[in-house]
């Protein structure tokens, strides 16, 4: 799935990946790949600016940590981030239900003799 297709949903996806617990940038990217069954494959470098934007918006907070011998910037959800994720989920459910219904092949028209 290309970045253009994901546009507008990347924020929600990143928040969802962080829901189980704090992760650093590369672990977030790996979780994106694993949880999407390999279908989401963005350039890894583009995930970092998106994370910084979420941080600026107060949805995640970041701190440097040295666990595992390498300094990494670790991101975790803030309470505002959890609320935003809930909103995002609700919006997506409505949207996908509507689009699924609309993309359904229409029943064949009943032709009158």
């Amino acid at each position: 799935m290309r970045a253009e297709t994901l546009k507008g949903h990347l924020d929600g996806i990143l928040l969802a990946v962080l829901e189980p617990g704090p992760r650093h940038g590369y672990a977030i990217m790996e979780a994106l790949r694993v949880r999407s069954g390999g279908r989401v494959d963005l350039p890894t470098g583009t995930v970092y600016p998106a994370l910084h934007r979420l941080e600026r918006a107060g949805l995640v907070q970041a701190s440097w940590s040295a666990a595992g011998g390498r300094r990494r910037r670790v991101y975790q959800l803030t309470p505002a981030g959890r609320r935003a994720l809930d909103t995002e989920r609700g919006t997506w459910r409505d949207f996908s239900a509507a689009v699924t219904a609309l993309l359904q092949p229409a029943p064949l028209p009943v032709t009158s003799p």
Binding site: Y26, G45, Y48, R71, R72, A84
Partner: protein
Amino acid sequence: MIRRFPAEPAAGPAVEGYLAELTALLPGPSRARAGIVAELRSGLADATDAHRSAGLPSAQAARAAIREFGDPARVAAGFRAEIAASQARRAAVALLVTGPLVGLLWIATAAASHLRIGLAPPWHWTGTAPGLGAGIYLIAAAAGVTAWGAMLSIAATGRLTRWLPARPRRAPTAAAVAGYGAVSADGLGLALLAAELATVPGKLSLLPAAAAAAASIARMLLARRAARHCLALRASLT
């Protein structure tokens, strides 16, 4: 915004070359740049490890990590918008905080001087140079523009970010407007002071006037610098 970042040992030449290419595409300040590069370096090291444990030799693993991170121009473009937003926010906060302080110094100057202003509006003041009242209204208008621009910039870069349509130029533009508003307000204040000194020199209380003038000059220079910086950041956004 990145506050603290540790020094990371340099990676291999391919990764360092990639990071150098990316750094060249990022605007200042160098602190923000260094934080971003440190984070990407550690991410590239993780990616290299992942490719190595998948069986690639070190040099190839590093090249695979670089391919995976993507075009440096594209990554830099994402960060440029972030740097512009955080710098614009910083400038806007500084303008919003310093405005009332400088304003208070000018009010103290007027109150300490023998202008018989009391609590009367400026057009009732007596013993002043002509045009003082009109000048004060112009200053108020410039201060209003500054406050409006700064607040818009702060709103566009904070919690409201995700509710506003993504327009990365909005915050640096508003902050630049605020900066030039502050330059105008302070410049007008200094011009009025000069007019008072020229026409009714004996009536001014010099010590507070000197303090207010010094504060205004300092703020004017800083505001002009911040406004130019914000315009440059705005121009760096594609």
